[in-house]
């Protein structure tokens, strides 16, 4: 297994776009530091509440969302921090949400599994496996009916491919030619269940193709590969060409939720294999190695991100919890 990690696949066009490279890097690092901080806060007992960490998969969210406009739509999953950050949700308000504070994205009512920010098209994470997919489909339908050229993205895991709902949506997206991109994050596991057991295969794109939805499989730990394929999918969607399916092969470094020990069901060798392909390190090697960005630039970004995260934690800690009256507001619009 320990074959050499392949280089990230940035072509010359991308390597020439320093602005883009900085953005991709910053977002990947921002997600990782956010998550690591959440992990530490949970370990210390300072923070409680259900949370599923995205570390290891950053290149998927970042590569996908880098192709989107602010008013395109994203529907997310229980493992949604990365999607939210990549779509532009403010990390301070996200952290405050995890702390259950009034200043949180959802005013403390949703927590990790439901982080949303309608202002940037983040429709929300959903805790029911698969349930975000029709939400994105509906957003795509809505965009088309309203005559905009907005695109919708549905993120979901390999586990969600057990749910029939996903196939219902593949079918509808195709017959209505909707501007929808299915992004399947195949990290190999649903909780402790390996994908090759649950679905009888490690390769999921073929299922989408059987529904007439063009599908591609990419190395999800290569942000350029994701960005490249997503470019084609978004162009198809925005151009009226209908849905696409992107299978991103990736890996989560932590357990299913904070507290889960993944060594109960995954080998150290397998983990090592994927960690050797770490999306941030590969990005750095490709970009610095080929002189597209100076290492110092990256370190400066690291530092800025570090400060941003610490400010987010302070913001969260200093924010008030919701007023007791919040218990029964927002149940109805009126």
């Amino acid at each position: 297994m320990p074959d050499a990690a392949p280089e990230a696949t940035a072509g010359p066009d991308l390597l020439g776009d320093a602005e883009l490279l900085r953005r991709l890097y910053r977002q990947m690092v921002l997600i990782r530091r956010f998550e690591e901080r959440v992990h530490a806060l949970r370990q210390s007992g300072a923070l409680q509440g259900s949370a599923h960490l995205y570390v290891g998969q950053e290149s998927v969210a970042v590569g996908v969302c880098a192709r989107l406009r602010w008013n395109d739509y994203v529907a997310s999953t229980h493992r949604g921090h990365g999607h939210a950050i990549a779509k532009g949700v403010d990390v301070a308000r996200m952290m405050a949400e995890l702390f259950g504070r009034e200043t949180g994205t959802n005013h403390g009512k949703g927590g990790s599994m439901h982080i949303a920010d309608a202002a940037v098209g983040m429709l929300g994470a959903t805790g029911v496996v698969g349930a975000g997919v029709p939400m994105a489909l509906g957003a795509a339908l809505s965009a088309r009916t309203r005559g905009t050229d907005q695109v919708a993205v549905a993120f979901f895991g390999d586990g969600a491919m057990g749910q029939g709902l996903v196939y219902e949506c593949l079918n509808m997206s195709r017959i209505w030619k909707l501007p929808l991109v299915f992004v399947c994050e195949n990290n190999g596991y649903a909780e402790s269940t390996p994908v090759e057991y649950a679905l009888g295969t490690k390769h999921l794109a073929g299922r989408a193709e059987a529904f007439g939805v063009p599908a591609a499989t990419v190395d999800g730990q290569d942000v350029f590969a994701v960005y490249g394929e997503m470019g084609r999918a978004v162009a198809r969607a925005r151009g009226g060409g209908g849905p696409s399916f992107l299978e991103c092969q990736t890996y989560r470094y932590y357990g299913h939720f904070i507290g889960d020990d993944p060594r109960r069901y995954r080998t150290a060798e397998e983990e090592a294999y994927y960690r050797a392909r770490d999306c941030i390190e590969r990005f750095e090697r490709a970009v610095v190695g080929r002189g597209a960005l100076a290492e110092a630039e990256l370190r400066a970004i690291d530092e800025e991100v570090g400060r941003t995260i610490e400010a987010a934690v302070r913001f969260a800690e200093e924010s008030r919890p919701p007023a007791p009256s919040a218990l029964t507001t927002d149940v109805y619009a009126r």
Binding site: Y73, A75, G104, T105, N106, H107, G108, K109, G110, H114, A116, D117, A118, L123, G124, T126, G127, V128, A131, V133, P134, M135, A136, L137, G138, A139, A140, L141, S142, A143, R144, T145, R146, A152, G164, L165, E168, C169, N171, M172, I175, W176, T329, D330, V331, Y332, A333, R334
Partner: protein
């Protein structure tokens, strides 16, 4: 003379008028138009939805707003939720309420809870229009539609916070409640009793709303309050007639809104009459009928002069056989008997 319309035409008119008024209103469901994709062969609007309630709409509004769906309630109602939070006001047709079995998730965990989970960021202006109730076919010549196509089940919707639920009892309330549901910024389940579809009544032509959250007193009376839901309101009126023959003055309240519940009207009525019978075609356990009874037992117990009675279907699925189905649904006789039982001393 005022204009009369069939119940299902009143619904049709409500949909048409709201779609005219507001371009964000769309309609989705199986065969809401019908013959889909065959317009070039002259097949358009072949079906027109259950009871023909959506007939004619595709000709007026086109297939972009009157959307025939594959059979995938979980998927298309989930999509309706997604559309509702992004600028549309979808009306999703759930052919029979029993099929909530395949789509409770988008109705409850997403449709109803989303606004709260998101801290009020979004509204979900969604209508789920569905058919409820037993068929009422001729007892001796076969049967009805049996257990999977004849339920009422609205107590499930009333239970869920974030949802609203209404059940009209005549063409007038059908049109008014459907328009109100479409204009409402919250998800509303609109329950259309299949046996009412063919009934007639006065319906104003201009659009109007019947307010969600308000019950309606159809007949005043001082001895006992009869509360009806959907088709059971007619059963209560008939029972009230018969009770009048026995010297009992029954007040008939048409519940209309199952969630939110109009507690004030109910409490106020029972405080006057001292006696309550709630009539509900749904099964009894955790029903709207018992919910109303419990509210009264909390808020008007001092005014009660007898047991609070509920007349409901038995705790059984709906049987096929016409003979059994007829015995399944509450009758005026059963309501009269219950009313007399509350008055027993």
């Amino acid at each position: 003379m005022a204009r009369e319309l069939l119940f299902s035409r009143a619904e049709n008119e409500a949909l048409r008028q709201e779609m005219e008024r507001d371009p964000t209103v769309i309609l989705m469901g199986e065969d809401v138009a019908g013959g889909a994709g065959r317009a070039d062969q002259g097949f358009i609007d072949a079906w027109g939805g259950p009871m023909g309630a959506t007939k004619g709409l595709i000709q007026r509004f086109g297939p972009e707003r009157v959307i025939d769906t594959p059979i995938c309630e979980m998927g298309f109602i989930g999509a309706a939720v997604g559309a509702a939070v992004t600028g549309l006001r979808p009306v999703a047709e759930l052919m029979f309420v029993n099929f909530v079995g395949v789509c409770l998730d988008p109705i409850m965990n997403e449709g109803a809870f989303l606004r709260y989970m998101l801290g009020g960021q979004v509204s979900v202006p969604l209508v789920i229009k569905t058919a409820i109730g037993a068929t009422g076919r001729a007892p001796e010549r076969g049967g009805g539609s049996a257990a999977q196509h004849s339920g009422s089940m609205y107590s499930i919707f009333a239970h869920v916070p974030g949802l609203k639920c209404v059940a009209p009892s005549d063409p007038y309330t059908a049109k008014g409640l459907l328009i109100a549901a479409i204009r409402d910024d919250d998800p509303v389940v609109y329950c259309s009793h299949r046996q009412l579809a063919g009934t007639k009544g006065e319906v104003p032509e201009a659009p109007y709303t019947v307010p969600i959250g308000k019950a309606r007193t159809l007949r005043p009376g001082r001895d006992v309050t009869l509360v009806g839901i959907a088709r059971m309101t007619g059963v209560c009126l008939e029972a009230a007639d018969r009770l009048a023959g026995k010297g009992v003055e029954a007040e008939v309240v048409d519940l209309l809104s199952l969630s939110p519940l109009d507690e004030e009207t109910l409490v106020e009525s029972v405080r006057r009459t001292g006696h309550l019978v709630v009539v509900d075609e749904d099964t009894p356990r955790c029903s709207v009928a018992r919910d109303v009874a419990a509210v009264i037992a909390d808020r008007a117990v001092d005014h009660l002069d007898g047991p609070v009675k509920t007349v409901t279907a038995p705790h059984a699925p709906v049987p096929y056989s016409g003979v059994l189905e007829a015995a399944y649904v509450p009758t005026p006789e059963a309501v009269v008997a219950a009313a007399l039982a509350t008055l027993r001393d």
